[in-house]
């Protein structure tokens, strides 16, 4: 699939000697890629009245550097082609040259909004390869920290959903909660965004007094506060009219598109990795899996509010059941796992975040594969948007909640 020079006198827009006035005079309409796939041919063939609009990598609402090429007919979107790769950093290749402990730092910036989950899945995979048993106290701390991260991520998502629809205020109210959680996690891990907290066999440091006191203060009003923030928007006529019935996903489509996380739960299927394939201490914790049946943007938004409440429940239980003990298993500085393969998945705020590690017995992973839910969900944008208006592209994308760091790896 290599590019070839097209034969013939067609001028290229990249050629500096070609002037735009000449092209305009000759009446050239659209640029089409060479060596097209079937889908590209279908997309780049324009009928009468259709036009290609590029929501480029720099755009206020594409949740990161995402380029979306829209084929629109007036105001209606006929087709969508997302173009990725603007944030591709080659993380999987870089990890092949790093020690197992060093790869944890590479994993953080993938889904940077909820980076503890990005560390957890690979660390679980490494622990499977090393047959390491994680101390129970470490498991409880992991759960508390990750559930806090989940709440922070959901609150941000809800705010950005409103922002993409034009409401300026809810995102700032959401940031109050996120700010407090970030402060808590900063006192626990030392970082506010890319935590680098999980270690193979445990976590980096034990709970401290600052963290516990902040957590206690925050938990006392958190539920009411999140409810109030969501209440700013739940009943807003304009938001409801725009989001209800938009981008409806049914359960079969979800399974066909390999969708996980709140997106599949908003379509009625109660698939949550914490219940369907339990890991860590989740079998001992008591929490519900909220689902909604409508599968539209509003359901996905409201579901996240429900999930925040469940996360608060989980944190509460963990705080009460916290055992004593070490927070990290004893491991050598350079670990050499057995040659083999391990797959581990966690339930991140956006979906199932998984890591597949192949070890060849040396101190560097042979293959480090990251499965990011946002990558898969971005295909839904191409599926759900055609037929709606340009403004709805943003609403659908915001409700699916992609994070480009994970999409592009």
């Amino acid at each position: 699939m290599t590019a070839h020079t097209p034969a013939g006198p067609h001028p290229s827009l990249d050629d500096p000697s070609v002037r735009i006035e000449d092209i305009l005079r000759e009446g050239i309409v659209e640029a089409v890629p060479v060596g097209r796939t079937e889908r590209q041919a279908e997309f780049y063939t324009l009928r009468d009245g259709e036009m290609l609009l590029n929501m480029g990598p720099q755009h206020p609402s594409t949740h990161g550097v995402l380029r979306v090429v829209l084929k629109i007919d007036g105001e209606r979107v006929v087709d969508i082609d997302p173009v990725l790769g603007y944030l591709h950093r080659g993380v999987e290749k870089l990890c092949e040259n790093a020690d197992y402990h060093q790869t944890i730092c590479y994993m953080d910036p993938l889904e940077y909004i909820s980076s503890l989950f990005c560390e957890w899945a690979p660390v679980m995979a490494f622990e499977k390869l090393l047959d390491v048993r994680v101390p129970r106290r470490a498991e409880y701390i992991r759960v508390i920290a990750t559930e806090l991260n989940r709440i922070a991520s959901h609150v941000l998502t809800m705010g950005f959903f409103a922002l993409d629809l034009g409401g300026l205020t809810p995102v700032l109210y959401g940031f109050i909660e996120r700010d407090e959680i970030m402060e808590m996690l900063a006192s626990l891990t030392g970082q506010k965004l890319l935590f680098n907290y999980m270690r193979i066999g445990g976590v980096n440091g034990d709970l401290n007094h600052d963290f516990m006191s902040r957590l206690g203060d925050w938990m006392s009003h958190a539920a009411k506060q999140v409810e109030a923030n969501a209440g700013l928007l739940n009943e807003n006529e304009i938001l409801v009219r725009r989001a209800r019935g938009l981008g409806v996903l049914d359960a079969d489509t979800c399974l066909r598109m390999a969708v996980t996380g709140p997106n599949i739960r908003a379509s009625g299927l109660p698939f949550d990795v914490r219940r369907s394939h339990p890991y860590s201490i989740f079998p001992e914790l008591d929490f519900d899996i909220p689902t909604r049946n409508e599968g539209d943007c509003l359901a996905r938004y409201l579901l996240r509010v429900d999930e925040v409440k469940q996360s608060l429940r989980i944190i509460d239980q963990c705080l009460h059941q916290m055992p004593d003990g070490p927070v990290m298993a004893k491991l050598p500085r350079l670990v050499r796992p057995r040659p083999g393969r391990a797959f581990a998945a966690v339930e991140g705020p956006r979906g199932m975040y998984a890591a597949y590690v192949i070890s060849d017995g040396t101190d560097q992973p042979f293959r480090m594969r990251i499965h990011d839910p946002s990558f898969v969900h971005l295909q839904l944008v191409a599926l759900l948007t055609p037929g709606n208006l340009v403004a709805d592209t943003m609403a659908i994308m915001a409700s699916l909640d992609p994070v480009m760091g994970g999409v592009d790896k």
Binding site: L53, G166, T169, L172, L233, R242, M394
Partner: protein, 446 residues
């Protein structure tokens, strides 16, 4: 001559600039003075003969000059109020409480590179911001700010207003089309569709008001509402008020109807390719439009410059004859401020935590505040146009605050929902309003 050359060479750059500038300024000054002396009497005579024309030119000039400070105030209000609603602080650093921010914005726009992108239709591209701005300013000419303070009292003022709003639509379309950019095109088309759709309920909702007042002149409309606040048309035409408010929000491209500049979708809409002062024109025009819409709401439904209640006490302050004091005036002018400052500073000076200098400064400031307040109060009570201005601006800025409040709170509607709302709900409502009003007037007059 050679001496001049040698002197020139010995001058520093600053000196060279001054050496050129000072003679030029002196020459200009002489020319101006000469022109005034020679042509002055002729001009004065001309205007004395055509006083209304002179008045019109002066009023228009005043309006054009005052749109920029209005825009500054509205921009500052918007930034600050939305920030407070967002639990932020807003502009804080430039000037006291950030009030000089708008000036800095204006300077920023002036200092940016003025370019014309490739492929644009240059004349249309250049004219579009001006058309929008001029359209907005021209609506201000008929708005009565106070009894006697208006640009022109057209007897078809309402009609003229909406003709000028239509001009703004043309300007937006020009900007969107000429920009050679798909985003701008989308934005321009959306804005054209939106503004044209909402012009109709806007205009129709005013027909009821015109029927009630029997005149289309804005000045007479305001006079028809004079008395107390119970005479305002908002009580007699509540539906028309609501329709006008909603349609006015759409006309001003404000949230929830701000899809033309929905920056989360089409970057900046029709203004994407504009930069520098060209964008500044669009920017200022939008905020002036917000003020104009508020002013129109106030004029048509809330009594314009009329006070909500007549001043209960009959006040007659005979202007005291300041010149009769003679030398006493010469003594009083420096003495009164000093005495006032000292009196007002005394309580602060007596408090132990404040130094003498600080107390004096506080006293001086308080004296200034008091003096200005007294002066304004006297003007308010004795001059009807001061009172009128005060009430007009208070009411207008209350509605500006309402517009800003809506922007901070509400999300955006979609284009099809917006159009559907205009054609399916507002238009029939406006028509029903007209019929009901006409029927009521006929019945009542019987």
């Amino acid at each position: 001559m050679s001496m001049a050359v040698v002197t020139w060479q010995r001058l520093r750059p600053v000196g060279r600039i001054l050496a050129v500038l000072i003679p030029v300024l002196v020459a200009l000054g002489l020319v101006t003075v000469g022109a005034v002396i020679l042509a002055g009497p002729i001009a004065v005579g001309f205007f004395a003969d055509n006083l209304p024309l002179g008045r019109f030119i002066a009023a228009t000039a005043a309006i054009v000059v005052l749109t920029i400070p209005t825009a500054f105030v509205v921009i500052y209000m918007e930034l600050k109020v939305i920030a407070r609603m967002n639990l932020r602080i807003g502009p804080d650093r430039v000037g006291p409480f950030g009030t000089a921010l708008s000036v800095v914005h204006g300077l920023k726009f002036l200092s940016k590179e003025d370019f014309t992108p490739t492929g644009v239709d240059v004349q249309v591209f250049t004219l579009a911001p001006s058309v929008v701005f001029v359209g907005t300013i021209m609506t201000m000419i008929v708005v009565p700010f106070a009894p006697g303070l208006f640009g022109l009292d057209l007897n078809v003022g309402v009609l003229y207003l909406f003709a000028m709003s239509g001009l703004t639509v043309v300007g937006l379309l020009m900007g969107g089309w000429a920009s050679f950019n798909k985003y701008s095109l989308l934005g321009g088309l959306r804005s054209a569709a939106q503004m044209v759709s909402y012009e109709i309920p806007l205009t129709l909702s005013l027909v009821g008001v015109v029927l009630l007042a029997g005149t289309m002149s804005l000045n007479h409309l305001v006079l028809a509402q004079s008395g107390s606040f119970l005479d305002w048309f908002i009580w007699k035409q509540p539906l028309a008020f609501l329709i006008f408010l909603i349609a006015g929000t759409a006309e001003a491209n404000r949230t929830p109807f701000d899809l033309t500049e929905a920056d989360s979708e089409i970057v900046a809409g029709f203004a994407t390719e504009y930069s520098g002062m060209r964008f500044g024109f669009f920017f200022f025009a939008e905020y002036v439009n917000v003020f104009v819409m508020s002013a129109l709401i106030v004029t048509f439904f809330l009594g314009g410059w009329t006070a909500p209640f007549a001043w209960p006490f009959a006040v007659s302050i005979s202007g005291f004859d300041a010149l009769g004091l003679g030398v006493g005036l010469l003594i009083a002018v420096p003495l009164v401020p000093i005495v006032g400052t000292l009196i007002l500073a005394a309580p602060f000076w007596l408090s132990s935590k404040i130094t003498t200098l600080q107390a004096l400064v506080i006293g001086f400031i308080l004296f200034n505040v008091l003096a200005v307040g007294l002066l304004l109060g006297y003007a308010f009570v004795s001059l009807d146009w001061v009172a009128g201005l005060f009430w007009f601006f208070a009411k207008s800025y209350a509605f500006v605050f309402l517009f800003i409040w809506m922007r901070g709170t509400l999300p955006r509607v979609r284009i099809d929902q917006l159009m559907g709302f205009a054609w399916k709900w507002l238009l029939p409502a406006a028509l029903i309003n007209i019929f009901v009003t006409a029927a009521a007037i006929t019945l009542v007059s019987k």
